[in-house]
Amino acid sequence: MAKKTYDLLFKLLLIGDSGVGKTCILFRFSDDAFTSTFISTIGIDFKIKTVELRGKKIKLQIWDTAGQERFHTITTSYYRGAMGIMLVYDITNEKSFENIVKWLRNIDEHANEDVEKMILGNKCDMTDKRVVSKERGEAIAREHGIRFKETSAKSNINIESAFCELAEAILDKTAGRESAENPERVVIDRRNNEKAPAYKSCCS
């Protein structure tokens, strides 16, 4: 097959309560499209998207997880392989915001210690149904020292910039550690560090 033409491969994970719009965010980012019909994700799905940052071609492999509570235990086993995590809540759903703390605890327990995180308050186009103010989102992000953005997959607000910002943060970290001469190295090193590879056979 043709050789892959990217400099770095970053694995990102989308987590958050069921129905907050994780799949829509991914769909907007990867296909620049939006569909309002809700289909619950039953499992782990991924899409790829190549972005250029600072002259480097970075392939983002973004894993979309099932948000349903019955899958929480099982999805945590996917945290380990992620270099960046998008934690999504719905600004029209108080409960999904309250659960952010729970999700953060999950990340602390199961993800790599140096994983880059970002909180997204999605559905920010639905102003009339808003129950979580932007200030509260910012406050919780500040409290945990995490990036924050309000997004709308429907109106395409901040989606691209959120992913690029997260990727850039990962790039900052990797650039300090690894020389970019060996494009695969970053990824391989990370995988080797894992006790048991989370998705051994499914990385491109």
């Binding site: 043709a2 892959k4 033409t5 499992g43 071609k57 499914c202």
Partner: protein
């Protein structure tokens, strides 16, 4: 200088181009050419060959396609091979493409993975024909390893030719190029390089080049001078190198006979002569700032490329190479030196050659030319030959002479200015080019200057020596490639050191240049497209259901559910159930079986997966533990179906476990106030997690029922407990479920089985709870030396456990005494059950230890300590309506047990309060 700009057009010059009959090639591919028009509206109607055609540019026609496959690792991977002709290059190549689906539906399903230009080194071999199931052949070109392909005896697609046809077509294509040997060197394979780009992005960018390429004019100044071993000192070289009005962008300056000493020849002098280079830099156009890009030398030949500072950054690559064509083709007195460079998006090549001398050696010169063309390969990443460039400038002392025309034998006669036209008729180079014997595809501008050889040094006079060498146009500048306009071509008479006159030519070349803005736009589109392609080609599987609901699941009954998985993509796809993290370390929980756990799905195929659930003696302990500890809604398991290189699908196995007495702790059983069949999963979970010291009865009724039944059987229980009782053979029969129901309903009916089955049920009741009966004192008890010491510990057990233990011992003792069963065997199996190690160690000595412990309690002389304990236990029975039923057998048993054993006497009663 006056001649500048005058001879721009090359209209009067015989232009020799590669003799490729483009019409014959075009006729075969008329169908494929129309594909572009169809592509948007009727994509599904395109034939495979039309889709393949879309991978190529205009003027590159797919002649035939052939289906093959490669075996990479264990996998068969499909390949489409196609024979393609470039009408412009006049050459053929075989392309190997990976297909993400077959037949391809659009050109995005295809990726070129290998290119085989049909050059001389190309070879298609099938000498080792395999069996009918593994027909194979190899393709090889250049010095690369042959690539092995396999093919099927029959093809599925009408468009696809069979192997023999394909091989015949490839062979004849190669032959057609080789037939006339002189042509072969002129044929350009440069077009093939566009497809050798590494990576999909580059390939796709190359394909869409026309969308972001514009042309930018550069001035290129070529100069040649055979210096005849003379120094440059005092030469007015600026007359030669600065003859153009505007400052050129690039100079290619060729010298010959720089040093033809034997020493230089023998040691293949290859160090550029920096004194000369300095002099050149001084003499180039003064309107520009210049620097040397590179120089290459072989003995007398040197080629120096000098570029304007401001365009230096536009040159992204440059390589040099030399080739010797002197004596034995190893000495460098003759041959060529060349520079290859990339200027923006165009590849340029400058060749300086000094070909064989003397009037009669036309053939030798032709041979030198061919030798250079074939032999000179740059050491760049694509191993470019001279012909692999967009623009080629051939400069040098080519040494072609003028055949002597009648009446013009003497040098003097040839010196008249107007005779050039006549002389050129007899110029060997032009004659040979017209015949197609050399410099195929090259163009030379009109010559409006005197022959440049041979002069008496220091003068403008032709050779006056004895030899009286005939004047000739030895020093020439030719070009090949499109978008080149010659602006000047002249010699310089006023430089007189050598027996040659220097020659120069000025060109305007439109260089392929990337429009950065458009490039960025196309690049973004390409990335998007490739991402989309990758996302869309992700393998997909459709799972019939993601929730398997088994409904009510009962102990010791296996339930089965099948569901289908279907391939939802146009290629073979593999899947397997993902192994979960430790401690489970398996694809599913103990009580499940999933078959098959790993499978490959061919295109359009469906497979059935069977999920079996059995909550039986092997799994009930862990199942109940999971029920007890699950905080969220209980699912039997969530299976992860992992599609190879694709998504992971969660399959939830759910349902409700119908509680039974088996597996529940003695404490839990003592908390029930009705038969187990009247409880549901949630209620039993609550009971399991209840840690209060309140119990509704002193001993589980299920335990009473069994002990009572066995007790009543008298001698019939003989052999009920044997060493293999722990294999639970009865429980693996359907009949056993009647015993389960008898216990779980507190049935008044007769026991629905044999004493042996009842004995096994008793063992199961004691063996299946999460913790052994004597937990948490198992290890401490094993360390005790005396029965009294042990009884002290037993008294610390929860009352249900303590009572069960005491009554069990009394019951067993009686049986042993009456010789119903072997005391040693009973001690062994009950030792294993009651003192079960939670650490799963399989220690032989521990086993003996347990047996000996049990023996102390079930053999003669020890029972006295137990009797009072049993009485207190029975009296502690609650005031429940089942009180009577529950206590009766115990009372009976107590009586019978004490009757049979030593009565009274002992005072070491176990305190049950």
């Amino acid at each position: 200088m006056s001649s500048l700009g005058g001879g721009a057009a090359s209209n009067s010059i015989p232009t020799i181009s590669a003799a490729v009959s483009s019409s014959s090639l075009a006729s075969k591919t008329s169908a494929s050419n129309s594909s572009d028009a169809l592509s948007s509206s009727n994509r599904q109607l395109l034939t495979t060959i039309q889709i393949v055609q879309q991978k190529f540019k205009e003027n590159e026609n797919v002649l035939s396609i052939f289906e093959a496959y490669q075996i990479i690792g264990q996998e068969h991977t499909s390949r489409i091979l196609c024979l393609v002709v470039s009408v412009a290059g006049g050459t053929y190549a075989v392309f190997s493409m990976a297909a993400s689906r077959l037949p391809p539906r659009s050109c995005s399903d295809l990726t070129i993975d290998k290119v085989f230009p049909l050059n001389e080194s190309f070879c298609m071999g099938n000498d080792r024909k395999g069996s009918i199931s593994q027909l194979q052949f190899t393709l090889k070109c250049s010095d690369e390893q042959p690539v092995k392909y396999f093919y099927y005896p029959l093809s599925s697609d009408n468009d696809v030719v069979d192997f023999d046809t394909f091989q015949a077509q490839v062979t004849s294509a190669k032959m057609s190029m080789v037939l006339s040997p002189s042509e072969s060197t002129a044929l350009s394979f440069a077009w093939v390089n566009d497809y050798r780009q590494i990576g999909e992005v580059k390939q796709e960018m190359k394909r869409r080049e026309h969308e972001y390429i514009k042309y930018k004019d550069f001035t290129i100044y070529c100069a040649t001078y055979n210096v005849n071993n003379k120094s440059y000192i005092d030469s007015p070289l600026h007359l030669w190198l600065a003859a153009s009005e505007d400052a050129p962008d690039i100079y290619a300056i060729a010298l010959q006979e720089l040093d033809t000493s034997a020493k230089a020849i023998t040691f293949s002098e290859n160090r550029p002569d920096y004194m000369w280079i300095m002099k050149m830099l001084e003499s180039v156009h003064d309107k520009g700032e210049y620097e040397e890009l590179t120089s290459v030398r072989l003995v007398g030949m040197m080629l120096t490329v000098i570029v304007k500072r401001e365009i230096r950054s536009s040159i992204t690559r440059h390589n040099v190479k030399t080739i010797a064509r002197g004596i034995l083709n190893t000495l460098g007195n003759k041959g060529g030196v060349a520079v290859s460079l990339q200027l923006n998006e165009a590849n340029l090549c400058f060749v300086n050659s000094h070909l064989a001398a003397h009037m009669g050696f036309v053939e030798a010169r032709n041979e030198d030319y061919h030798g250079i063309v074939k032999g000179l390969v740059f050491d760049d990443e694509l191993r470019r030959t001279i012909n692999d460039h967009d623009h080629i400038f051939w400069i040098g002392d080519l040494n072609y002479r003028i055949e002597e025309p009648p009446g013009l034998q003497l040098p003097v006669a040839r010196s008249t200015a107007h005779s050039a036209e006549i002389l050129l008729k007899y110029d060997q180079l032009r004659q040979e080019m017209r015949k197609g014997n050399c410099f195929e595809g090259y163009t030379e501008g009109p010559i409006n200057f005197r022959p440049t050889y041979k002069y008496d040094p220091g003068t403008d006079n032709y050779d006056s020596s004895e030899k009286q060498r005939a004047p000739a146009y030895c020093d020439r500048i030719l070009w090949k490639g499109s978008r080149i306009t010659q602006l000047a071509y002249n010699s310089v008479m006023d430089i007189r050191q050598s027996d040659h006159k220097p020659v120069y030519a000025v060109f305007r070349v439109s260089i392929k240049t990337r429009d950065d803005h458009l490039y960025k736009k196309v690049h973004e589109e390409v990335l998007k497209l490739l991402d989309k392609r990758e996302n869309e080609s992700q393998p997909q599987i459709i799972v019939e259901k993601t929730i398997i609901d088994f409904g009510m699941v009962r102990f010791n009954e296996t339930v089965v559910s099948d569901f289908t998985v279907s391939n939802a993509c146009p290629m073979q796809v593999g899947f397997e159930f993902k192994r979960k993290d430790p401690p489970l370390n398996a694809i599913c929980e103990k009580w499940l079986r999933v078959e098959p756990w790993k499978e490959k799905l061919m295109i359009d195929s469906t497979k059935s997966i069977r999920v079996k659930l059995s909550a039986n003696v092997d799994s009930i302990t862990s199942l109940l533990q999971k029920i007890r500890t699950t905080n969220w809604k209980f699912d039997f398991d969530i299976l992860i179906l992992q599609v190879e290189n694709g998504p992971h699908i969660f399959i939830t196995v759910t349902g409700e476990y119908k509680p039974s007495c088996f597996g529940l702790s003695m404490e839990t059983l003592c908390r029930t106030d009705r038969p187990l069949c009247e409880y549901d999963q949630q209620q039993i979970k609550d009971l399991m997690n209840d840690e209060s010291p309140e119990f509704r009865v002193t001993m589980p009724r299920e335990f009473f029922l069994l002990i009572d039944y066995l007790h009543k059987q008298g001698p019939k229980v003989e052999g009920a407990f044997t060493l293999d009782s722990l294999e639970f053979k009865h429980a693996r029969n359907v009949e056993f479920n009647d015993i389960r129901d008898w216990l779980d309903t507190w049935s008044n009916n007769e026991f629905p089985g044999t004493p042996q089955a009842a004995a096994e049920a008793l063992l199961m009741l004691l063996h299946l709870p999460e913790k052994p009966l004597l937990d948490p004192y198992v290890d401490d008890l094993l360390k005790t030396k005396t029965t009294a010491e042990a009884m002290e510990l037993v008294s610390l057990l929860s009352s249900p456990k303590r009572n069960v233990f005491v009554h069990l011992c009394m019951f067993l003792r009686e049986g042993i005494e009456r010789k119903y069963y072997n005391g040693m065997h009973v001690a062994t199996i009950f030792g294993r059950v009651l003192l079960r190690s939670t650490k799963k160690s399989d220690d032989y000595y521990r086993d003996i230890n347990c047996r000996e412990f049990m023996q102390r309690f079930i053999s003669n002389g020890e029972m006295s300590t137990l009797s009072s304990s049993s009485s207190s236990a029975s009296s502690a029975t609650g005031s429940h309506h089942n009180h009577h039923r529950a206590t009766t057998p115990v009372a009976k048993m107590k009586n019978s047990a004490s009757n049979a054993s030593l009565s009274g006497g002992s005072t070491a009663a176990v305190d049950s309060s």
